[in-house]
């Protein structure tokens, strides 16, 4: 059966059961949504006339430049760890901004370029944006819904001249559900973010389970000192060293009248702390990430949910050294498992919403692979709270089933700005079910507004995983 017809049938069923006008409206919007779940970037289109793939479609004059086009010199940008600044310095600066009365400007974890096929190179970097008054490039007047560009060659008006698969297997991109963004060649490591997060979080309700393999949890301690380079500058030790050097150089003639402007600082004066790694045996775990990628998730909601999951994911990667298994499930009215964080992160939003489908899939996977016996199971679900199954008639039973084996289920609702607060379907039926109270240690709900920032996201994570 055609996808659309399936959805329509589903819609008719729901209508028979009775819908409020508001619910009806939301469903219709998603049903009529034009979006598709494609991974962005790498826009290669195949030419029907038989010649090989088109080049990436460049839709702006200004993306061309001489270094690249004439000399094939590729774009490079310095990363913060190539230049002198450490993330500590940047965050320090940001804190100072807040004290000075300006909003923070550094985002952590907004950019990511994971590899495919299990080679998860998580890339988390501090980013910022320079705000100006500019015309909104995403705005299109209604008569120009389609994206226009230039073309040359044969073809009658209206004739299709090329196709590009929506699900591009080799695409690369950045930004959740954003599409077209150019690939970022940034490479860094998750160390800094992981470090920050690790100070804050720990998986709750871990139990000794199974004998498949022992999960090694690493604890890191910043005890070792190192001259010249390292992860975290030891300010006290560095200052001491600088003074030592300058006493030696004779720059400190009078102890009562110290003039630090005369000090010379040698690179080897900088003392850093480096890690020593200690092993720690712990239970193993599998974490399910569930993401609602229905049409209503367009924009901020997806951004928030995905960013939060990036944070959780990079923390797990760091803290448990990739020995926690992660599984990724996307759902609209149907759920599917995707192989890696990349697909999970980049898939675009479209379609309707059935939360139950995702819960059902997780239950099926757990049952089929008998995961409950050997693993601690964690489920993180991100949604905007819309559900065609408005009363949770299907979702709640699946959730109850899940709570029988899960160590923690964390649901994040990123509410839309236009709706009323704390009034989404998912939130309502979760509350009505009483599960939030009854299974307090197993089920957590975090509801945030569309305008939530990094700090709010971190708070949310804490709420989801706090013991």
């Amino acid at each position: 059966m055609d996808m659309n017809q399936k959805l329509l049938k589903r819609y008719e069923e729901l209508k028979k059961r009775g819908l409020t006008p508001e619910q009806n409206r939301k469903i219709l919007l998603e049903l009529n949504g034009e979006g598709t779940h494609d991974s962005p970037g790498g826009s290669r289109i195949s030419d029907q006339t038989g010649s090989k793939d088109f080049q990436r479609v460049v839709n702006s004059f200004y993306q061309h430049n001489d270094l690249q086009d004439l000399q094939a010199i590729t774009a490079l940008q310095a990363s913060y760890n190539v230049t002198l600044r450490s993330i500590d310095e940047l965050l320090e600066r940001d804190k100072q901004r807040e004290k000075d009365g300006f909003p923070r400007k550094i985002n952590v974890g907004r950019l990511i370029k994971p590899g495919r096929g299990g080679k998860e190179k998580i890339v988390v970097v501090p980013t910022t944006v320079e705000e100006k008054f500019i015309h909104d490039p995403n705005f299109k007047p209604p008569e120009e819904e389609e994206e226009a560009s230039g073309g040359t060659g044969d073809g009658e008006e209206g004739e299709v001249i090329g196709e590009q698969p929506v699900h591009d297997p080799d695409g690369s991109g950045s930004g959740p559900g954003q599409g077209e963004g150019g690939p970022h060649e940034m490479e860094s490591n998750a160390y800094d973010l992981g470090k920050i997060l690790t100070e804050k979080f720990e998986l709750p309700n871990l139990q000794d389970k199974g004998k498949k393999r022992s999960l090694t949890r690493y604890t890191y301690d910043m005890t070792d000192r190192n001259k010249g380079f390292g992860q975290l500058i030891d300010k006290k030790a560095t200052l001491r060293k600088i003074i030592e050097t300058n006493i030696f150089l004779g720059n400190l003639p009078d102890l009562d009248d110290i003039d630090p402007t005369r000090f010379l600082i040698s690179p080897s004066d900088r003392i850093f702390r480096v890690l020593s790694r200690e092993k720690d045996y712990e239970s193993q775990a599998v974490v399910f990430f569930l993401r609602d990628y229905s049409g209503s998730m367009a924009g901020k909601s997806s951004d928030l949910v995905v960013t939060q999951h990036v944070l959780i994911y990079s923390w797990l990667l760091y803290q448990y050294a990739m020995q926690v298994e992660s599984r990724f499930v996307l759902h609209d009215t149907e759920a599917k498992e995707v192989p890696d964080f990349y697909s999970y992160y980049n898939s675009k939003v479209a379609g309707g919403t059935q939360v139950a489908s995702a819960y059902r899939l997780v239950n099926e996977i757990v049952e089929k692979e008998n995961l409950a016996r050997d693993y601690n199971i964690y489920v993180f679900h991100g949604t905007d709270g819309d559900d065609w199954d408005t009363t949770g008639k299907e979702a709640i039973p699946e959730l109850k089933k899940m709570l029988k084996y899960a160590s923690r289920v964390g649901v994040t609702i990123a509410e839309h700005g236009y709706g009323s607060k704390n009034n989404s379907e998912v939130e309502k039926y979760l509350k009505n079910s009483g599960l939030l109270e009854e299974k307090k240690s197993l089920l957590r709900l975090d509801v945030m507004q569309e305008n939530a920032d990094e700090t709010r996201l971190m708070e949310g994570i804490k709420r989801l995983i706090s013991p």
């Binding site: 919007l29 826009s43 289109i45 702006s60 944006v129 100006k132 015309h135 909104d136 560009s149 196709e163």
Partner: protein, 553 residues
Amino acid sequence: MELVDQHTKKIMEGCKERARDAGLRFEDETLEYIVTNRDLIELTPKVMIPTLYDYWVHDVEVLKETGKYELYPANPYETVINTRPAISFYNDNNPDWMNVMIFYHVLAHIDFFQKNLYFQHTWDYDFTGQALSDKRMIAKLRSEKGRWLDYVIEFTRGLDNLVGYHYELSRFAYPDTAIRNKRVDYYFDVFLQSEKKVKISEYIKEIERYNECLKASKKTGEKEFFSDITKKYPEFEALYKKQYKKKTGRKIDLIQFLIEHSEFLKKEENQWMKPVMEVIRKTSIFFQPQIRTKIMNEGWASYWHEKLFLKDDRIKGHEVDFAKAHSGVASLPRVGLNPYALGLRLFQYIEELVDKGKYSVEFKRLLNSSDRKNFDKKTGKGMDFIFKLRQNYNDFLFINTFVDDDFVALHNLFVAGKRLNKNKMVWEYFVKSRNAKDYRQMLLDMLYHPPDIQVDLDRTKNGNLYLVHHFEGKPLVKDFISNTMLGIEYMWGNTVQLETSEVAAVPTSQAAAYVSGPTAGMKEEQKPREIKWESVLYTMKNRRLSRIVIRKI
């Protein structure tokens, strides 16, 4: 960075001779550097200007996806920069024949920088030298003022796309004010156009009447002309006097306005901020012409590297290599936009057009297609003409004037559309229109165009700075409004307001963005999305932003 070796420099000097013989004009001295990846890491955040001031944002990955080219008009990956001497950058392993091609390309760019009037304000100084002294000043101030210096840079950069580039240029071409008659100017330039909004035909009639009056009597003609006007429009005199009373001095942009009128910046302890703001402003103005002549500049450079390379006797035997490299740069893409390809073909098309005398009324009146095809006056003036274009035109004029039916037909151009095929789950590219007018409009829509935001002097009072965004059918990026206004408030030292236009919120507006087209079988009618605009006023007061709707449009 290292200079190219003597062997390569000699090749460059040979290129210069040949380029000059062909008519290109540029200063003798140039500097060619080899760049490594490491150099590029340092250069690209500084838009290839080695001496640009330091700023912490240069060291951080910047999210550029939202309107990248609107935010950063300066291209960080140019091969040649508009300095004195001009500096260009090269791979260290380019073969000689390729360097010849690139050198011609670079020389044509230098010619363009130094002869195109949109660059006139960059002609009398060396930007790298200026930038170096600015950089030192900023470094010195940073050591004194610390992070506050970076705030000033940040907040001023928030406005650096609104700089008065055209005011700056207009100074070079202003007619002598002494001989202008202000009353006549006001009547034709302001009164008829803005106050009365008369039709063009009426406007022309008035011009004719004015000329008639002057012809009738040189002395009293003008008086007579205006006596009729006061009869017809009794309010004219009053309006003229009111207008005349307004300060009619030079026009200034927002950054200049802040520098000159901000009470906050006038304070003794804040004086140091002004030169910093001026540096940011000057830097932005320096880069402005680049993005406004991208298509012409790349077209011009491609035109010459092709022409001169093929004539160059030193690289015989590399024609095939050249053909490959050249077509990689300058072939028209099946779908997409390429400034090299478009600019090159336009220059070639125009040259032929003028050579055959087709850029004339006589040709335009011809309707018979075979007459049009065979039309050839053999004027031989094509080359002269494209040199004139390179002196006087920018991208807008270039495209608006010369992308016509014949050009679009000649190269088989079309507007390409992209739509989703749900059954096959593919994006389909299709021929949307072959109409030259549509094609031209599509190109014009793609050109860089910052918003027009001005200080409204009438409503700027009691310390309140009132900005008006002259709406051109596109809203501003909402997320950026708050921080930009916060910066202005800081530098202004008082409340700041911005009047702009936004899409009126209808209950479904959020979702409407992805709704289009009815789905088969749906009973509910989906109306085509209709946009209602409303005029809104943002107010930034004590670092808090508020927004009210002023009126529906």
